[in-house]
């Protein structure tokens, strides 16, 4: 209300209500507000058992022996499984590199690695039995950073690697290395009037989705298993699960349960194989639900990074060159590290025109927790560093930081460091202009605030101050700062990946009305894909009633709910299949009625309002008459345009499908004495190509912005030099509450990308990038401190 501006050009041609461009309500909304929506942790089956996972207390250790005999003796225990119980020769899994053990064998490589499984009749029984498993560990030296990973005598995390990156990396503890060289950075450097450089650091962020890893595996009579699960990609899970179980894929039937958020953290497997193993072994349904402590060990995190950057510029404000080196800590297993390296390197330049670059990004194997996909995926780390550099350059040149960015901003036609030309709108200067022109929030709002939080007699509302209800300040020592940032993110899977999706659409008459059914394997994780699919079907098929079939593996793959790709790719697949269904319907109509009206043969025909109409608006026949008792049912795959891998030496290649852009302006107030930060406002402008559902688009932008705020001032998994996680709880790993989160006004642009369905641009990730550096820029402006690391903690601000 009030603060959010929605796009204005939203009502469009569709005659059928609830089509694309409208803020239709979520089809799962009612179930979610009544408590009836069944999340994966809500699954229940008569006679079901509870599974529990025993995890390593060490970051690196040899396992000398595992003794499960005492655990078996506990009443109520049905199974205790270790590595030796795995049924086939396939003992590992992994997204790209199969280096992750289902259960540890001989060695654990990170704190929290799964070692054994228990199934019992009560979760507490399972937990207590697991505590009776005796594992004899002999601790090994811990690899925890680049120096210890690449030292001459460094222990190798994966000796004898034979994955497809093994042959080109400089050290076996480096998962992947991607250099990008374009132009001549050294020669360009000589032309620079000013040069700035810096070392930056990004802490390990957690997705912290609220719905814990969980699911229910039910053994089936045919020897297979039915798995109800929360994931981001059913078919990718299936491809990794089935070989470990020794089952053909059609005997592992997966159905998506309610997913309580994902943000990349469900791209890798967690308890899927474990629950299936226990269910197949005991012959009983097995449910596993992680608690929050276990969840912190149960999924990969955002790669912490160290980034070294150098930029030069001429006096008139043109950037001459950029050199950077980005070191990402991938932890013990590869997960998505190679692709994160590809993103970090190819997007390291930011949304700027820089012709002469020298870039290198690597990901390490260490004994730290495994890192992989998280919203922003490699682009977040780079954006924090290059935006800090932009502020430094502008300051060095005595220029306004926004004008300096606008002067160097990329636009349609700019060539990326990879040699790829940006061939759709890239309104970088415009989104900066828009956030800058939004009115600033009033000063000293704590004095004007009303309500019960006011401190008696002072007229001060501490809730509006840094420190909030702790009542630490009444405004003394509080200074305000304003900062800007902008970022660039790729949409979809890159580097030559065959990134397709499948949709099945059925159109038939039910109860005298035409009804469409859309069936995909897309994981709805909260983003609203189900809402958009129904809207697309309404627009394309001209029917009001659309049913969304539960997502499962009975239909082809939809690819992952990540990389901001689902509306583009699965939305594209739904659109494409609807078009095929429409063709078929018109064919049936022509056969039935073609002789009665020449327009069947001559006019452009559409489906609107449940009827076949000409593009001139003339009604030819209701769908009920065309279809009668016939159903049109089509399943079809759809692909966006292909990409290609980056050259391993030069980084050249048409690597990305699409780019998306967001800009932020942050307003902060800092209590400089206590080092407390209050973010007062975090305004965002983003180009979304076409807002299929404006309300959902704004929800994505505000949610992504808030996760960026979390990384800026509070969120970090603290890992010691011993590789152990210090804060696996919501008591010690803080995510923004409603009191920490400011007003987030959003300005949405819709500049169509002609390559994409409806011109849309993936939305979910871009706002997570620029939010963090904007907040940091504002804190620097308020305090005058350099602040080269996120999250910023009070001691960084007070120097204590």
């Amino acid at each position: 209300m009030g603060v959010t501006r929605t796009p204005t050009s939203l009502s469009q041609g569709s005659q059928t209500r609830g089509g694309i461009g409208e803020s239709t309500l979520r089809p799962d909304g009612t179930l979610k507000v009544t408590g009836e929506f069944a999340y994966s942790s809500d699954m229940w089956h008569e006679d079901m058992l509870w599974g529990f996972t025993l995890r390593s207390p060490h970051a690196h250790a040899e396992i000398r022996s595992v003794d499960t005999s005492e655990a078996w003796k506990q009443a109520g225990v049905y199974a205790v499984l270790t590595y030796d119980d795995l049924p086939t020769e396939v003992k590992n899994y992994g997204l790209e590199i199969q280096d992750t053990p289902v259960l540890a064998h001989g060695r654990v490589r990170h704190h929290g690695e799964p070692v054994a499984l228990v199934a019992a009749d009560h979760p507490e029984t399972a937990r207590r039995a697991a505590a009776k498993i005796v594992v004899d560990y002999a601790p090994l030296p811990v690899v925890h950073d680049e120096a210890s990973a690449t030292a001459e005598d460094a222990p190798l995390l994966h000796p004898g690697r034979d994955d497809h990156h093994a042959s080109h990396v400089p050290h076996p503890n480096i998962v992947h290395r991607q250099p990008i060289v374009r132009g001549d950075a050294e020669a360009a450097r000589a032309r620079a009037d000013v040069i700035v450089s810096g070392e930056y650091e990004v802490g390990m962020q957690d997705q912290a989705f609220l719905g814990p890893e969980s699911g229910l595996a039910v053994p089936a009579e045919d020897g297979g298993v039915d798995l109800y699960i929360a994931t981001q990609w059913l078919h990718s899970d299936l491809r990794q699960i089935a070989p470990v179980l020794g089952l053909p894929e059609d005997k592992v039937r997966m159905t998506l349960s309610g997913v309580g958020g994902a943000f990349g953290g469900r791209e890798d497997l967690s308890m899927q194989i474990h629950a299936c193993l226990l269910a197949l072994r005991t012959g009983k349904p097995v449910k596993i639900v992680y608690n929050r402590f276990e969840s912190f060990f149960g999924h990969v995190h955002r790669h912490p990074a160290k980034l070294w950057y150098e930029h030069g510029a001429t006096r008139d404000g043109r950037i001459t060159h950029m050199k950077c080196r980005i070191v990402l800590d991938g932890g013990a297993y590869a997960s998505a590290s190679p692709a994160v390296v590809g993103n970090a390197s190819s997007l390291s330049v930011g949304p700027y025109v820089i012709d002469d670059v020298d870039i290198e990004a690597i990901a390490l194997y260490t004994n730290n927790p495994p890192c992989g996909a998280m919203r922003g995926f490699g682009a977040v780390q780079a954006c924090f560093a290059y935006e800090a550099q932009m502020d430094k350059l502008a300051a060095e040149l005595g220029m306004d930081a926004v004008e300096f960015r606008q002067l160097n901003a990329m636009s349609q036609g700019t060539v990326m460091p990879t040699g790829q030309e940006v061939d759709s709108p890239a309104p970088v200067a415009e989104i900066l202009r828009r956030v800058k022109s939004m009115p600033l929030p009033p000063e000293r709002q704590w004095e004007s605030a009303e309500g019960t939080g006011a401190v008696a007699g002072t007229g001060i509302d501490v809730r509006a101050l840094p420190g909030g209800l702790s009542n630490t300040t009444h405004g003394e020592g509080v200074v305000r700062g304003v900062g800007y940032a902008v970022g660039i993110k790729n949409v979809g899977f890159s580097e030559g990946f065959d990134d397709y999706s499948t949709a099945r659409v059925r159109l038939e008459v039910v109860g005298g009305k035409p009804v469409a059914m859309v069936h995909t394997a897309m994981a709805e994780v909260g983003q609203g894909g189900v809402t958009v699919h129904a809207q697309i079907a309404r627009t394309e098929l001209g029917v009001t009633d659309v049913t969304i079939h539960p997502a499962d593996t009975q239909v082809g793959s939809a690819g992952s709910t990540s990389a901001s790709r689902q509306t583009y790719v699965t939305g594209g697949a739904v659109k494409n299949t609807c078009e095929l269904v429409r063709e078929k319907v018109l064919e049936i109509g022509r056969a039935k009625f073609g002789t009665y009206h020449p327009a069947w043969a001559t006019a452009e025909l559409l489906l609107e309002g449940g009827k076949v109409v000409t593009d001139g608006g003339e009604v030819l026949a209701p769908l009920t008459d065309v279809l009668e008792d016939q159903a049109v049912d089509i399943e079809s795959e759809w692909r966006h345009r292909p990409t290609e891998p980056f050259d391993l030496r030069t980084g050249q290649g048409f690597g990305h499908v699409q780019y998306s852009f967001a800009a932020h302006r942050a307003v902060v107030e800092v209590d400089t004495e206590l080092g407390l930060v209050k973010v007062v406002e975090l305004a965002c402008a983003q180009d979304v190509g076409k807002a299929l559902n404006p309300q959902s688009v704004i929800g994505q932008i505000q949610g992504g912005t808030t996760q960026g705020l979390g990384l800026a001032v509070m969120e970090e998994i603290v890992v010691g030099e011993d590789g152990k996680v210090r804060n696996p709880s919501f008591t010690d790993y803080l995510i923004p509450t409603i009191l920490d989160t400011p007003t987030i006004p959003v300005d949405v642009l819709e500049l169509a990308d002609e390559h994409a369905p409806y011109g849309l641009r993936g939305v979910g990730e871009a706002p997570t990038l620029s939010s963090t550096p904007a907040v940091l820029s504002a804190i620097r402006a308020a305090t005058g401190l350099a602040l080269n690391r996120v999250p910023v903690r009070p001691e960084h601000l007070t120097g204590t």
Binding site: T4, G29, A38, Q695
Partner: protein
């Protein structure tokens, strides 16, 4: 151990409860009422918020034995609770005479998990705050939603015209990872405004 208490206006008896079980576990796993969520089980996220004799509490921090003889309202009973409150009844059940309009134990136990489809449950009667969350777009993954609804409903009951700062303060114990809270604020403002119109309309 055996525990007797009232849930959503209906008496309930739980047998074989282990002393370490929380109210949240009993609701979710023994009563078939999984609406209250389990995002942390350590009192930090508010996703398990229920009302205990009218007060909002984290059900994960309440030992099952502590609810003996007391009244619990969960998200599943929120619509009934709001209806009774509007009718001027003793909504919380705190005055001891349990109403017959709650979820029956029978029905609660027959509750079965089912995958989501487009069954929007439009026939379901929602409370003002539930409808406002849908209309304002305050629901994404929805995992935080049940706890937020119980907390927001309690806020509006206590403070019919909350300021933004009041809303933030009242909901500061409820984490949401998806929405950035803006639309949750919208929803609570909307619910408060609608409640006020309704009250004004009835001349109360």
């Amino acid at each position: 151990m055996r525990v007797n208490f009232t849930v959503n206006g209906r008496p309930y008896e739980a047998d074989d409860v282990w002393e370490g079980e929380s109210l949240l576990y009993v609701l979710r796993e023994r009563m078939g009422l999984p609406g209250s969520k389990n995002a942390c089980e350590q009192g930090e996220c508010g996703s398990c918020t229920v009302r205990l004799d009218g007060d909002p509490v984290c059900a994960c921090l309440v030992a099952a034995g502590q609810v003996e003889g007391r009244d619990v309202v969960t998200v599943e009973g929120l619509a009934d609770y709001a209806r009774q409150r509007a009718a001027g009844g003793c909504a919380s059940g705190a005055c001891g005479d349990a109403k017959n309009t709650g979820t029956s134990v029978d029905a609660a136990q027959r509750w079965e998990a089912r995958p989501a489809d487009s069954q929007t449950g439009e026939a379901a009667e929602l409370s003002t705050v539930q409808q406002a969350f849908i209309d304002a777009g305050a629901v994404q993954c929805g995992f935080c939603t049940p706890g937020l609804l119980v907390a927001a409903d309690e806020l509006i009951e206590r403070n019919p015209e909350p300021s933004d700062a009041d809303i933030r303060e009242a909901l500061s114990g409820n984490l949401c990872r998806c929405t950035g809270y803006e639309k949750i604020l919208d929803a609570v403002r909307l619910a408060a405004a609608r409640e006020e119109t309704q009250t004004a309309g009835t001349g109360a």
